[in-house]
């Protein structure tokens, strides 16, 4: 599929999506509400994106952006789905029922960025200790004891 | 039929085990194959690779001169603040002021041997030495001053 076709296809699924083709792959920015249905359609629809190879979050100081890298083992076309979340109460629907790998990756994002994944079966801290305060990978995280400013 | 399978199972199983035993038996009876290096007994014959990155040193020549200009390129290149260059201003006999190093502090305990400081150095003043016996009883001994006391910069190095 060419990028144009993908764009067309995605517009039918998520009308509010915006596209960005400057990078290596097609970037699709959707709203947090649209994300889950779009993902379901991408997995089960004609694209058959069965391989989620990277899931992460980026802190842009004004907002958080969830970044999902999707690919398919059949046609090997990769696309990037993004969703902006507000920084105070970041909530997004979980996708770990679509791709099982997302379960651990979302737990990691949850503790590092404080993004809350609704309907996640087991949303606990994975790496940090249970009573850890703060979200270390956010830009405004301060830890005067352990972080050495060079 | 069942019995035949059963017996082949037993026979193949036992032969596979005997093959393994033959291999280990071979090594047991061939002490030549032993690869143990008896460090530190073999310290005298131990050959370290000349490129081995053990620690950063600053070579000094016979006149106790080095080639460090105090440009702090190494300090900037270091990913984890291992090197600290303390500079001073020397007044040459002609009355000109010149920047030179006072001390070049190297903290071995922070060093990851990434070689970036050596690559960054414009005057080849520092290099990696193949020393690896770094253990000491006191952590402060790992903080080293690389330039020798009383050393100065070699003439003609800018």
């Amino acid at each position: 599929m060419t990028n144009e076709e993908i764009k067309e296809y995605i517009t039918t699924l998520a009308p509010a999506a915006t596209f960005d083709e400057t990078g290596e792959w097609l970037n699709i920015l959707v709203t947090a509400e649209e994300l889950k249905p779009l993902m379901l359609a991408l997995r089960n629809g004609k694209m058959q994106m069965n391989y989620l190879f990277c899931l992460t979050c980026v802190d842009f100081k004004t907002h958080l952006t969830m970044v999902y890298h999707l690919s398919a083992t059949t046609h090997r076309q990769s696309i990037v789905i993004k969703a902006n979340l507000n920084r105070e109460q970041p909530v997004v629907e979980t996708i770990c029922d679509i791709w099982r790998t997302a379960e651990f990756l979302e737990r990691e994002v949850f503790e590092m960025f404080g993004v809350h994944f609704s309907n996640h079966p087991d949303l606990r801290k994975l790496i940090l200790e249970d009573d850890f305060k703060g979200y270390p990978l956010r830009k405004d995280f301060e830890d005067p004891i352990n972080m050495i400013k060079l | 039929m069942f019995l035949k399978e059963y017996i082949t199972d037993v026979v193949t199983g036992v032969t596979s085990l005997l093959k393994g035993m033959r291999k280990t038996g071979y090594y047991f009876t061939h002490p030549k194959e032993i690869i143990t290096e008896q460090y530190p007994d073999n310290r005298a014959t131990l050959l370290m690779s000349d490129r081995f990155k053990g620690e950063v040193v600053m070579p000094h020549d016979a006149n106790n001169e080095h080639t460090c200009t105090g440009c702090t390129a190494c300090e900037l290149a270091c990913p984890n603040g291992t090197i600290k260059v303390v500079t001073k201003f020397e007044t040459s006999p002609e009355g000109k002021k010149k920047k030179a190093i006072d001390t070049l502090v190297y903290r071995l305990e922070l060093c990851t041997m990434c070689n970036l400081c050596i690559v960054a150095c414009p005057s080849d003043a520092i290099k990696m030495a193949p020393n690896f016996e770094h253990s000491v009883f006191d952590r402060t001994k790992l903080t080293k001053v690389l330039n020798q006391p009383g050393s100065k910069i070699r003439e003609g190095i800018e």
Binding site: - | G20, M21, K23, T24, Y27, P31, E33, I34, I35, T36
Partner: protein
């Protein structure tokens, strides 16, 4: 010539000459106790060193070579270290059983020394049901292991002990059947008679293929019974950290460790007695000259040589094979070893009745 053969009778005669029979018996008991304890200690030290050396050479290493010439005193140093170490008892452990367990395991080992013929006329107790005694007493060690596993109040220990229980109880069977084949051939349970029956040839040669099969079964079964790799599920280092002795430290750990090696020595000694003629020298049919030369080698050397060869075999197994899984372990016993040993016993019985053996 150095030999242990005459010593026992000399000592006996001398004691009877000096004291009354009761007193002599008491003194003999003391001597035996002292000897067996020192044998226990020496064997432990020697076998641990041997194991380490065998392992090292198989693994293209040198092994211990720092303490003493060729690392001879390495195990002595290790034992000293273990004695000096603090023996911790876990807080919620059953203190009495926890402390008792290593001694139970060790005592079983010492009891088993009794009927073993170390040389000609050199035997603590030539009991007429020697083989039966051995197989019954040796199965007691599982009690010590279960005790240790249960009393430690540690889940790893418990799992290890339970595995060990299942394992020892199962492998007891095929070990017993392998022993029985020789009993059938000899017609006696007494160790001295079994040895004497092999005067003109060891059972492994005289008994045709069934004896060889019995020997293989015996070696496999006793490897499992002594919890050695590839059947070391009770301590399965990579699964259960250290199994039943996870919580033991210091000298109590050392006792478990020693007991393991003593058990190996005992089962190998019995194996040597049953299949390789114990202290009996190698005799081949009518070769009189050859047999005479063989007779010059002291019987104790014959016995120790055979035993240590079997011990080496068991060590060789350990450093070659991966460990079995617990269900495979039981499968191996119940689906392979037991049917084969039953069949083998039948075969031996037929051979013995028809007198086909030499």
């Amino acid at each position: 010539m150095f030999s242990l053969e005459g010593i026992t009778t000399n000592v006996q005669d001398w004691l009877l000459m000096k004291f009354n029979p009761t007193m002599a018996l008491a003194i003999e008991c003391v001597i035996v106790i002292l000897l067996s304890i020192s044998l226990f200690a020496i064997l432990g030290l020697v076998l641990v060193l041997m194991e380490r050396k065998v392992a090292a050479h198989i693994q293209i290493r040198l092994g211990p070579n720092r303490v003493g010439p060729g690392g001879m005193f390495q195990t002595v140093a290790d034992t000293l270290k273990l004695i000096m170490k603090e023996g911790l008892t876990p807080d919620k452990a059953d203190k009495f059983l926890f402390n008792l367990a290593p001694f139970v395991v060790m005592m079983v080992g010492m009891l088993l020394l009794a009927p073993i013929a170390f040389a000609k006329n050199f035997q603590i107790w030539d009991i007429n049901i020697g083989v039966l005694y051995i197989s019954s007493v040796s199965s007691l060690s599982v009690i010590g292991i279960l005790m240790a596993g249960w009393a430690s109040n540690n889940k790893y220990s418990l799992l290890g002990a339970m595995r060990s229980g299942a394992q020892i109880v199962s492998y007891e069977l095929s070990a017993g059947f392998a022993v029985l084949t020789i009993v059938v051939l000899t017609g006696s349970l007494q160790i001295s008679e079994i040895v004497n029956a092999q005067q003109n040839g060891w059972w492994i040669f005289k008994g045709h293929i069934p004896a060889v099969i019995a020997f293989v079964l015996y070696i496999i079964a006793v490897t499992a019974e002594t919890n050695r790799a590839p059947f070391d599920l009770a301590e399965a280092e990579s699964e259960l950290t250290a199994g039943f002795h996870t919580e033991y430290s210091g000298m109590r750990f050392a006792l478990f460790f020693l007991a393991e090696y003593i058990n190996i020595f005992i089962v190998c000694a019995i194996g040597a007695t049953l299949f390789f003629g114990g202290w009996m020298p190698l005799h081949i049919g009518n070769w009189e000259a050859f047999n005479h030369i063989m007779d010059y080698i002291p019987s104790s050397v014959w016995f120790m040589g055979k035993t240590f060869f079997l011990i080496f075999l068991i060590m060789w197994f350990r450093w070659t094979f991966p460990r079995l899984r617990v269900d495979q372990l039981l499968n191996l016993e119940w689906k392979y070893l037991l049917p084969i040993s039953l069949f083998n016993l039948l075969l031996v019985a037929v051979i013995a009745i028809l007198g086909w053996h030499f």
